[in-house]
């Protein structure tokens, strides 16, 4: 298990979390390369389907991260995202996905340090969970 390197797909919003990731980079903070960022304009556009696709394709964890409540550049996209995550968290555990494989966080544009910390912690958590079932089995 020690050599297991989890893959985490992170849907990050252009205005807050992606900017925080950028800040982490320009500040020369390091975070694990296990996280693959997918920049979206707003977490409000992350259809549950995207999360399902990532998980079924073998991602060991999925993160959706956007602006803090009240900071959304489209006013309320992050509130919509929260409902969709709530939905997925009610759906996925029924089919054996550990709920910890799906996370939602708010990371503001100036939170470069916070971004690096969350990524580190998230990767460790998913590493503990082990590889996802979808990765090991032929899922059709």
């Amino acid at each position: 298990m020690n050599d297991f390197e989890p893959t985490i797909i992170a849907f990050v919003c252009n205005w807050c979390t992606y900017t925080a990731a950028d800040l982490a980079g320009t500040s020369r903070l390091s975070y694990p390369p296990n996280v693959r960022l997918v920049r979206v304009m707003c977490t409000g556009m992350v259809d549950p389907q995207y999360v399902l696709k990532a998980l079924l394709e073998g991602a060991d964890g999925v993160l959706v991260s956007g602006c803090h409540p009240g900071d959304c550049h489209y006013i309320n996209g992050n509130f919509k995202a929260r409902r969709r995550i709530k939905l997925l968290k009610a759906l996925l555990p029924q089919f054996g996905f550990a709920p910890q494989r799906l996370r939602l966080t708010w990371i503001g544009a100036s939170d470069g340090i916070e971004f690096a910390r969350v990524m580190q912690e998230l990767v460790e958590q998913v590493r503990e969970l082990g590889p996802s079932e979808a990765k090991m089995k032929m899922v059709i």
Binding site: K53, L56, F95, T105, W106, E133, A134
Partner: protein, 380 residues
């Protein structure tokens, strides 16, 4: 309930009584047509039929255990724009719930429509209904109704209700403008009909029917009915969960799916005008398939099967009315009704949402509050 009346029944012939009632409705100048399940002249089958000629109501059969499709979709077609006349639609309870969901999604309108609901006795799967073959549909319906009202749950000659109907805990047509009661009624003499809305009451007042009320035995009969179904539903849920509680098991459950998408077409609340699964998004490049096969060693085709069903659950699960048409439409007999009814329940519970209960309740993913569901945020 604003007003109630009695539909006279002669010689225990419920269908004749209901047809006469519908003829009276259609005779009103403000009513342009009645949408009601009718026996087809050329085959032992019952289909939703839009009737404007009172004579043709002699084929009406809203009690037959035939449920070829969820008619909410048909009502949506009839009401999405002004039709130029009021339509009276006779619908099952789950059809009414689906219709209410479609109204919320602005895919149907209630303005020129009056819904008549009859206590639903359930229906057979299509395949089972076809087994009655050349037997007279009307006579068969009589035996079916008798079986349902006698507490045999609609079983006739060993044929039982469709799985979704067996576990339906909402057979009462709540939400209809007019409710025709079968439960607890003295069906040999008359059927009670009660108005649940202003629109229903004003139509009922125009009809020449003796006054009456819902029988007192109705409440108890309803409770008894629902309790029986509830334990069956719980057992079904438990069995289905144990068959699908891991990705591997879910894959096995759906293994015979050929991505025909019939379940999505049959689903009354799968609301997208064009499903993403038939768009270019899933028109993968040939090299993509080779890539998948190369990475995993083998890839079943067509691909994206589990993905499709999970996406559908995520999209319409909160609106699932439990009609079971997904299973009816499956060419390979995948028990989809069991899966969708079971897996949707926690989704509806998460938002305390009851599909089809009220027009005032917005679909959960169409609204939000600023302070809610804090527990899903963060990595703790």
């Amino acid at each position: 309930m604003a007003k109630a009346a009695m539909i006279p029944i002669e010689n225990g012939n419920l269908l004749a009584g209901l047809r006469q009632f519908l003829r009276q409705v259609l005779a009103r100048p403000e009513i342009a047509a009645v949408l009601v399940p009718c026996q087809l002249p050329m085959k032992a089958m019952v289909m939703p039929t839009l009737v404007s000629d009172p004579e043709r109501l002699s084929a009406a059969n809203p009690l037959a255990p035939a449920f070829p499709l969820n008619a909410a979709r048909m009502v949506s077609r009839l009401t999405r724009k002004e039709a130029g006349g009021t339509i009276v639609a006779v619908l099952r309870a789950c059809e009414i719930r689906a219709f209410i969901e479609l109204v919320k999604l602005r895919q149907a309108r209630w303005e020129e429509l009056i819904i008549v609901g009859i206590d639903c006795l359930g229906a057979y799967t299509n395949k089972d209904f076809f087994r009655i073959g050349d037997e007279d549909v009307e006579a068969f319906t009589g035996r079916f109704v008798q079986s349902a009202l006698d507490g045999r749950d609609g079983e006739v000659d060993g044929v039982v209700l469709a799985p979704a109907c067996q576990v339906c805990t909402d057979p009462i047509p709540n939400g209809a403008d007019l409710v025709i009661g079968l439960l607890g009624a003295d069906t040999g003499r008359a059927l009670p009909v009660a108005a649940a809305t202003e629109k229903g009451a004003s139509l009922l007042e125009q009809l020449d029917l003796p006054g009456g009320k819902m029988p007192e035995a109705r409440e108890a009969a309803m409770t008894d009915w629902v309790n029986r179904r509830r334990s069956k539903r719980e057992a079904m849920g438990e069995a289905t969960r144990s068959l699908t509680d891991s990705l591997e098991k879910l894959t096995a459950y759906l293994a015979t799916c050929i991505n025909c998408y019939n379940c999505r077409v049959a689903c009354p609340v799968c609301y997208c005008r064009e499903c993403v699964f038939v768009t270019d998004v899933f028109d993968h490049e040939p090299c993509q398939y080779l890539g998948w096969a190369g990475r995993k060693g083998a890839v079943k085709m067509p691909t994206d099967t589990v993905f499709y069903h999970l996406t559908r659950l995520a999209h319409m699960g909160t609106a699932c009315v439990g009609c079971g048409q997904c299973a009816n439409a499956c060419p390979n007999d995948i028990p989809l009704a069991e899966l969708f009814i079971t897996a949707s329940a926690p989704l509806q519970e998460a938002f305390d949402y009851h599909p089809g209960r009220s027009l005032d309740e917005k679909p959960p993913l169409a609204e939000f509050r600023e302070e809610e569901f804090e527990e899903v945020v963060g990595i703790k």
